[in-house]
Symmetry: C2
Subunit: 262 residues, 2 copies
């Protein structure tokens, strides 16, 4: 993949495919993860592989909501780690919130592999430049981001089995959860707990997209730098309380419709 | 998956996912195969996970063209074997034509695994019931289906590397090639050789779908029993020579559009 320049219009798609197959080899992913990524690729294709105006609106609103949270958490699964671990840790450093590994098909091997991967990426991010406009000691800020999930001490109500496991200091006590690529059942269970749930989902027709408080219909690698930038830019101010998520979903569908109509 | 009944509306999707992850474990698939399957899942979802009227029209026309061929061949890759090996061997038995393994990312290991899988499935199909309406000795008919590809002795012009390899008695001499899930480059190279190329592709916007002589926009597991039935039913007669493939693609797009518009 070294030959694909960052300016290539399909850079994200080609790089995403590479990152996911690498992550599968490293044992970070469940069996169904590559198939789920492929579904996303198809919807991304219909979006024209670009961040739409309405997705950008959702990203800005999400940043304001996350900045105003009492307890924010960034919940990640294998695909999120594979695609955007570094930028998600940067977001957590800016917010000074934990990152929690929370995977649907939980096995000890995958949890260890993901934890180790996140710790490695965190060490790399500590040595990287801080986001433009951010003030403070970046190394200290990144170092203080807890990576949770290895030892779950709480459960999400109304879910059965290991997928209900979570951490008290993370998902359980959070009022705002940023959880890219979540499944429908768990999204619903988190909403039922009264939490603000922000998801990233390329399929505006999915149950997750419909259930979430804020749905960002965009590709994760493409949207994380935008989210980071808006988290740093605190002038976004208080979140608009009259958020119309259905309007966002309709708008994403219209982008896809116009692409198919071409 | 034992608990999913055949009558389940999403049976094909759920079973397809299971078959693909099993095939990946067995070493039948390239790294990108599961991602490609996921893309197909998304388009299948937009099709309402059903065979459309225009797809059925394409299947009937394909059956007539395959029945009228001088030398037909069924070309399979890892995904096609994983999803529909038995029904594709049944089609080959009815047509008395070869099945050729032809994979984009050719490795000796995958070729051996696919060859061995097809021989196993062929032995099972020999012991299964013949298709309804078919006359003759089924065991003999299935037994005489050559499984080609292990020792390529020809090359597809205008393609570089191992992906150009093929068999003289299969793809090279065929006038009609049924090749589900083909990639765009190879589809174009086969068309440039003057061959009639019949593809199965869930994405009506793909280069393969646009390049092929006949494009069946349908899910492979769902369409193979229909193709088999129409191959057996010889009353389909001579193929309609005024085939409008663009109309078929437009029709598939309209089904997807109406689904998004809902």
């Amino acid at each position: 993949m070294g030959e694909v320049p960052r300016s290539h219009p399909r850079y994200n798609s080609l790089m995403g495919r590479e990152l996911l197959t690498d992550a599968a080899t490293e044992g970070l992913l469940a069996e169904s993860a590559l198939i789920a990524h492929g579904r996303g690729e198809a919807f991304n294709y219909l979006l024209g592989e670009a961040t739409s105006d309405s997705a950008l609106m959702a990203i800005k609103h999400a940043a304001a909501v996350m900045n105003s949270a009492n307890n924010c958490v960034i919940s990640v699964n294998g695909n999120a780690v594979a695609l955007a671990a570094a930028d998600l840790i940067r977001c957590a450093a800016v917010l000074q919130c934990p990152v929690e590994i929370n995977i649907y098909y939980r096995t000890p091997e995958r949890m260890v592999a993901l934890y180790s991967k996140l710790e490695t990426v965190k060490a790399e991010v500590m040595l990287s430049k801080p986001p433009v406009g951010w003030q403070g000691d970046w190394k200290v800020a990144v170092n203080s981001v807890p990576i949770l999930g290895a030892e779950p001490n709480g459960r999400i109500p109304n879910l059965e089995g290991p997928r209900a496991n979570c951490c008290k200091e993370g998902i359980l006590e959070a009022d705002v959860i940023f959880v890219p690529l979540e499944d429908g059942d768990r999204c619903e269970a988190l909403i039922d707990m009264g939490k603000t749930v922000i998801v990233v989902d390329l399929n505006p027709l999915s149950r997750t997209a419909k259930m979430a408080t804020i749905t960002i219909v965009d590709e994760l690698m493409r949207m994380t730098p935008l989210l980071l930038s808006h988290l740093v830019n605190s002038s976004d101010g208080k979140p608009n309380i009259e958020w119309d998520n259905q309007m966002i979903l309709d708008s994403a569908l219209r982008v896809m419709l116009s692409r198919l109509e071409e």
